[in-house]
Amino acid sequence: MTYEERVAEFKAHIDDGGKVDAGDWMPDEYRQLALKFIEMHANSEVMGALPEGTWIPKAPSLKRKLSLTSKVQDEVGHGQILYRVAEDLGKSREAMFDDLVNGRTKFHNVFHYPAETWGDVAYIGWLIDGAAIVNQRALLDSSYLPYVRAMRRVCAEESLHLRHGLEMVIELCSGTEAQRELFQDAVNRWWEPTMHFFGPASKQKDMLLYWGIKTRSNESLREEFLTTYVPKLWDLGISIPDPKLAWNDSAGSWDWSEPNWDTFWKVVGGNGPMTTVRLAQRKTVWDTHAWIREAFAGIPAAA
């Protein structure tokens, strides 16, 4: 069988709803796309722990401190699980982390921004995790089975984070005027990055969709997010900084303003407001903890 014939057989398997496991044969293009996508996801999990992590010492109560610490641990854990999945596609964890901390690979745009107030922590917990879970639930149908297994684990934890975030939002929105303003201010600053999060309109031939690694377009994911969360924000009396945002009955979809995509490309290109600081934090830990990796590698086999 020629390489082209094997690729055609593989594609037919995917189109038929078939799955691919770590040791299975796969076309080079599939392997490279899956690796890049999952590596970026893993990078985003470990970088995403940092904005919230800075608020652990400043959490307003012991209950919030415990739950936030646990959430941050979960996010880093997702990174560990996803790097393991990506490693099987042919790149070592060391190489992936080295590329991340030296700015050679990307992570999600939203984690390049500062978490300025406790209102931001509530926003991230409910709405950034909400946006993430919309994306991640769609990945439960991915063609790459080890990724699906990881997503089962991640989605279960993200739904817990979502409730944790929603509880904080309810607390702020049903509290004093100053508390409501704290959350409104967070929404005003985070809305555009959240719209960026789903990415620009999918290309006509998105290869991630073609190979079933991703199963839904950026547009359909953004629509689901808007339908799930915008009415709830309005019910809480929280306005959204987009005067065009409204459900369009005749189109059966949302009308919304295009965010500034130049800003998006600048941020994901490594020029966000917190990119340098966050990468330096991760690089410092990576470098100073090298001895732990060396110690692990040197543990002899058990008798």
Partner: protein
């Protein structure tokens, strides 16, 4: 460092299912420790095990099911700690609607029904 498959059981009646993997030294105890921290912090099941990739031997963690996930009260790590949060959102939304704070903008049909709930 070796690759270990991680297996779990949600209930005693379940068969072992692969839930993911860890990379650990050539020592099942280390692999079990890493698997527990990566996959079983939230009382996800009653038992877990590791298996060196490419082999059949399964190493089962010997912690009793009731201890797995810890005995300290860490309910904040689990869904039940946030039970009722959806109902609370509806109650708070109703109070805010009565106060005239709710924002009325065109919304999808199913959301209109939800918003009209008493």
């Amino acid at each position: 460092m070796e690759v270990w498959d991680v297996l779990g059981k949600r209930t005693e009646a379940d068969e072992w299912t692969v839930v993911g993997g860890v990379k650990a030294p050539n020592d099942p105890h280390m692999a079990i420790l890493l698997a527990r921290e990566s996959f079983f912090r939230h009382k996800e099941g009653v038992a877990f095990a590791v298996r060196r990739r490419g082999t059949d031997e399964v190493f089962v963690d010997d912690e009793p099911a009731e201890v797995l996930g810890g005995l300290t009260d860490r309910s904040y790590r689990r869904q039940e700690a946030y039970a009722g949060v959806g109902g609370r959102l509806r109650r708070v939304s109703k109070v805010l609607a009565d106060r005239g704070v709710r924002i009325d903008r065109p919304r999808p049909p199913d959301q209109r029904i939800r918003a009209a709930d008493p």
